[in-house]
Subunit: 174 residues, 2 copies
């Protein structure tokens, strides 16, 4: 499937509702448990998504359209820590929804054409990337974290499913 | 995490909204492509969930509380084909929502106690299982298919993300 902005936008628009529907108001055991070790909890995953809204997708798009040397600053994989400090899960979900709405409004206001989608920036690790790659990655990044959230939640019932464990592929994935 | 009906019910209640938010009204490329081979499309996954509502979770609970030999009939992994025949994705999403609502109303009407959750049935492959195992598996089954849906969708952008592919674990999972 080719990247097509009109077909990608609804996915980006829905992500806050998907994640809110999945998590809003659930018992703490669903929200603050991880997959073991230093893996992320749903709470940390939502904070990471917030950090992406603030520092990754639209800020990098703005760098592509800016003046001068178009190198993206590295993304901070610890950035979720400051985003979540002192906040509740429901506050994070609300914040993510507002940030995403504002970012998509900014994206639409750019009136991106096929030509503009071929503009490039320099990723600090990956090298030259097009705006089209960046926006497709935004969509896949959302889906990656929905994938992760459903897996982290499922694993909390690793024992509770009893003999069914062998049929549940999600419990063996990481 | 122990299975606790009060903490599990909100997850079961939200699944139709999560999946509707993820899929409703999207372009056909998101809904009718799979992961290659005989893997399922999002359309087939939703039809499979409908078949589960009709033949698996609550029907098996009723077998557990019924008279006589409490062996569950095998689940038909091809059952989604008849559920989806002649229907649109949006029709399937609406049907799933109604079936789930009715099934959870039936579940609540059973006023399940800890003692009743220990009742058993015989799974055709797994052998004796408790109602507690069955209901925990219902939750994990929902999460399994949210996990699968997000992965199937992400894989449609396997090429579109360009060099980002190496950072997107979801594109390498199955």
């Amino acid at each position: 499937m080719q990247f097509d902005l009109e077909k990608a936008l609804p996915v980006l628009e829905r992500t806050p509702l998907v994640i809110e529907s999945l998590l809003y108001g659930l018992a703490d055991e669903w929200l603050f448990n991880n997959e073991g070790g230093d893996t992320w909890t749903p709470f940390e995953i939502v904070a990471h998504l917030i950090h992406g809204e603030k520092t990754d997708w639209i800020p990098r798009t703005q760098i592509i359209f800016g003046e001068g040397y178009k190198v993206f600053p590295p993304f901070d994989m610890e950035g979720h820590k400051k985003e979540s400090k002192g906040k509740s899960m429901d506050e994070l979900l609300d914040e993510f929804k507002i940030l995403r709405k504002d970012n998509l409004a900014a994206l639409k206001a750019m009136n991106l054409t096929d030509e503009l989608l071929e503009r490039t920036g320099i990723h600090p690790v990956l090298g030259p990337v097009t705006l089209r790659h960046l926006l497709a990655s935004w969509v896949v990044h959302d889906l990656t974290h929905i994938h992760q959230l459903s897996r982290v939640m499922a694993k909390q019932y690793d024992e509770a499913v009893g003999p069914w464990k062998q049929f549940m592929g999600v419990l063996k994935s990481n």
